[in-house]
């Protein structure tokens, strides 16, 4: 019966069952122990009750140990007391029995990581040290003391006999009892038919050999002795068989069975130990069985440990294979020479699509394949071969490359990343990721952003129609008036050539001025963003301010520039940066539209240091009204009819240029929106 550890305070049935079991087991153990007592010898060869107590204590929680001891007491008194010993001695012997169980179980709980398991050499070592040596050693002192004091027997003789008896019993009974209790039922449920047959065969063999021990002795002493030795020898392979095939549990049960057979034979004055004085027979049996039990248990634990390690290794390998097979990225594992150790299914599928197919077999040279691809005209392959070779040799920690693979079913964009293999022999793990869909999505997003920025630019320029018309009107007026004036100068009584030439010069200047306005409009209305080049931010801000000067006049707003002298050059897209400045200044002009004349003012400042240029647009409008954190959100606007895209697009443009953009209310009134861009290599103002 496996005594399970239960925490239910109300489970009296389990407590009662435990008590009854302990009482019955202790009773049975005492009966067996008394039966294993050679006539006229005080000590039994084996004394099971102590080991039964130890086993039960190991299988129950410490809070229930008092119940265990109390349940065993009546059985002890009933049986040991009937042997004619005085009651004080009977009670003293019970106390010493309990002390051995307490020392053994308490010590094992403290020192072993799994007190009820014998599946490693360390755990068996702890068990032998505590339960087979230490506990009997110490409790035998109490035992011998009680017997010497009350029974009048020699102290050291009693101590030695108790020590050997209890040690042998602990070695044979405790593992068998505990393993049957913890995993006996499980084995019965899960064993295969073959295992059942084998166990039955082993059990039958032990019984047969044990029975042979009980046959009458041959008349010839020599023949009888040889027959006994041969019979005894048959036990050894059976015990080894049990240890190798059934682990510590089988070994301990087989050992207990064999021990009982030998002792039973000796009790009947049969078997290889007959003929000796009872006391000597007892010691001989103990000294024969203990040296066999110790290495047998150790061997069984080693076999079990190895079996579990192999099982773990198989499970680990299976898990790794499953993980590798489940990955959607193509994985190739290379050794130090660049040859394939293993690949996963995803790589096999990817490799089939290449022309020629990429290597997938173990031993194939992946890096040489890359070199071959380079020779056949794939420029990325040379860089890949060099990079991955550096990784497998350990001279490089990480390498990745992106390339486009032309396939019959369409081009694919593949990113290959290599990392060193974490083992002493070196190597690398390459992952191949198909990012085609991702790149397509990025391109689409980029196109959409560009389209949106263009729409915003067109919208802003559309809002500046009156301003643009005003800006064109001025030079057109100049051109017409100058032309008419020149005509008058030339038609006069005395043609004033100088005056006419001056008017013609002014016409040329006005025409260029009008052309500038058209060029700036055309630049802003371009669909694509233009190219990246060196851009003088101060000049750009000045140009946008000139563009908006008419708009400021129309709105009756003073637009003031406070720009740092000299250029402040950044690398960027001129059109996009113009759009940012345009948005900020237009927002400022609109913010002060309904303010008093003294507040109808927008200031644009620039300042720079060695690393950055910062442009600020300051207005005295109503400010952000508690919504600074939303100012850059797409589609957020406080302007009726506004799209809410201006600042959002400005932010994305500034960030794309490696800068930051901020918006904050001014201390007194209005708001300031500023952006900062990193200066280019030649950019210091």
């Amino acid at each position: 019966m496996a005594v399970e550890d239960t925490r239910s305070p109300h489970n009296l049935l389990r407590l009662v069952s435990l008590g009854l079991f302990v009482a019955a087991a202790y009773y049975g153990g005492t009966v067996v122990g008394l039966a294993l007592k050679l006539p006229e010898a005080t000590p039994s060869v084996m004394w099971p009750p102590n080991s039964i107590l130890t086993s039960v204590l190991l299988l129950t929680r410490p809070a229930w140990w008092p119940i265990v001891f109390l349940s065993a007491l009546p059985s002890h008194v009933a049986l040991v007391g009937s042997a004619g010993w005085p009651m004080p001695l009977v009670l003293a012997l019970f106390a010493t029995n309990c002390s051995e169980a307490l020392i053994a179980a308490g010590g094992l709980r403290r020192l072993s990581d799994a007190p009820t398991r014998f599946d490693s050499l360390r755990r068996v070592g702890v068990f032998v040290g505590v339960a087979v040596i230490a506990a009997p050693f110490l409790s035998s002192f109490l035992d011998a003391g009680a017997v010497a004091m009350i029974g009048g027997e020699p102290f050291w003789l009693v101590w030695r006999s108790r020590l050997f008896s209890n040690s042998l019993t602990a070695l044979t009974v405790v593992p068998a009892f505990v393993m049957v209790g913890t995993s006996g039922l499980t084995w019965l449920r899960t064993a295969t038919r073959q295992q059942f047959v084998e166990a039955a065969l082993l059990a039958a063999s032990i019984i047969v050999v044990g029975t042979l021990l009980l046959r009458p002795a041959a008349p010839d002493p020599m023949t009888s002795a040889l027959a006994d030795i041969a019979t005894l020898a048959w036990f050894l392979p059976l015990l080894v068989w049990a240890a190798l095939r059934f682990g510590p549990g089988g070994a301990s049960v087989a050992l207990l069975s064999a021990s009982l057979c030998l002792v039973a034979a000796a009790v009947r004055n049969q078997g290889p130990f007959r003929g000796l004085p009872p006391a000597d027979t007892t010691v001989a049996l103990q000294l024969f069985l203990i040296p066999i039990a110790l290495p047998l248990l150790a061997a069984a634990s080693l076999v079990e440990e190895r079996r579990q390690n192999e099982q773990h290794l198989r499970a680990s390998e299976a898990m790794k294979s499953s993980i590798l097979a489940s990955l959607t990225k193509g994985v190739v594992v290379l050794d130090r020479d660049g040859r394939i150790i293993t690949v996963n299914d995803a790589w096999r599928r990817m490799a089939r699509g290449d022309t020629p197919p990429a290597p997938t077999e173990a031993g194939a040279d992946y890096i040489e394949f890359c070199r071959g691809a380079a020779r056949s005209g794939k420029p990325w392959a040379a860089e890949a071969a060099a990079g991955f070779e550096a990784v497998v040799l350990g001279t490089r920690h990480d390498f990745w490359i992106e390339h486009t693979s032309q396939r019959p079913d369409g081009d694919r964009t593949i990113v290959i990343r290599g990392a060193p293999l974490d083992r002493a022999e070196g190597g690398a793990v390459l992952t191949h990721t198909d990012v085609s869909d991702q790149r397509r999505a990025e391109l689409e997003a980029q196109r959409a952003r560009s389209e949106l920025a263009h729409v915003a630019r067109v919208s802003t320029v559309g809002a500046l129609t009156a301003s643009i018309a005003h800006q064109l009107n001025q030079p057109l007026t100049g051109i017409l008036t100058n032309a008419q004036a020149a005509t008058r100068w030339l038609k006069g009584d005395s043609p004033a050539l100088d005056e006419a030439l001056a008017s013609l010069d002014d016409i040329v200047d006005d025409d260029r001025r009008a052309s500038d306005v058209i060029v700036r409009m055309r630049e802003l209305l371009r669909h694509d963003g233009g190219s990246v080049a060196e851009v003088d931010v101060n000049a750009l801000v000045g140009g946008v301010a000139r563009l908006l000067s008419s708009d400021a006049i129309i709105r009756n707003v003073e637009l003031e520039l406070q720009l740092e002298p000299g250029p402040a050059v950044v690398r960027g897209d001129r059109v996009q940066l113009q759009q940012v400045v345009l948005n900020l200044i237009v927002n400022g002009l609109e913010a002060v539209a309904d303010r008093s004349p003294v507040d109808r003012r927008v200031i644009v400042r620039s300042r720079s240091d060695r690393r950055f240029v910062e442009v600020s647009v300051v207005d005295r409008g109503a400010g952000f009204n508690g919504a600074e954190d939303r100012a850059f959100d797409a589609f957020y606007t406080t302007k009726p009819g506004g799209m809410g895209l201006g600042l959002s697009i400005a932010k994305s443009i500034v960030q794309a240029h490696g800068g930051v953009i901020l918006a904050a209310n001014n201390r007194q009134s209005g708001a300031t929106v500023s952006f900062r861009l990193p200066l280019g290599p030649d950019g210091a103002a």
């Binding site: 100049g478 008036t481 129309i554 003073e558």
Partner: protein
């Protein structure tokens, strides 16, 4: 009757427009004084009586053409004013008429239109001076 010849005062913030109009009026034989802002014109005008007329741009930074008209009226100046603007819409035209300006021209304008307006304005100024 003042002793000075009539002067055409050209007030426009745009340099090229000022130069072009100045050139045109001088080619027609007029005496011209050009100013780039309403404030500069009023300061130069001072309190001395002057004969002539004003060619005044509407959209200027700071002081608009309508602001200059108000100042002239407040000072009791009766110089005829010809308003010129890039906004040729009806709203501006009505506002100009209500402000008492004699003529309203949209840019770009024909030389004869400006010159005719100036001649009418000078006649009006002469009639007022008598």
């Amino acid at each position: 009757m003042t002793a000075h010849s009539p002067t055409i005062f050209v007030v426009d913030d745009d340099l090229s427009v000022r130069r072009a109009v100045t050139g045109l009026l001088r080619s027609a034989g007029f005496r011209v004084e050009a100013y780039q802002s309403g404030r500069e014109f009023l300061d130069a005008l001072g309190v001395r009586p002057r004969r002539g007329c004003v060619v005044l741009d509407v959209r200027m930074p700071g002081m608009s053409g309508f602001d200059v008209l108000e100042c002239l009226a407040a000072r009791g100046r009766t110089l005829p004013v010809i308003l010129v603007t890039g906004d040729g819409d009806a709203t501006t035209a009505v506002r100009a008429a209500n402000a008492g300006c004699s003529t309203f021209l949209a840019k770009p304008f024909e030389d004869e239109a400006l010159l005719d307006a100036i001649r009418r304005a000078l006649q009006q100024d002469d009639a007022g001076a008598v």
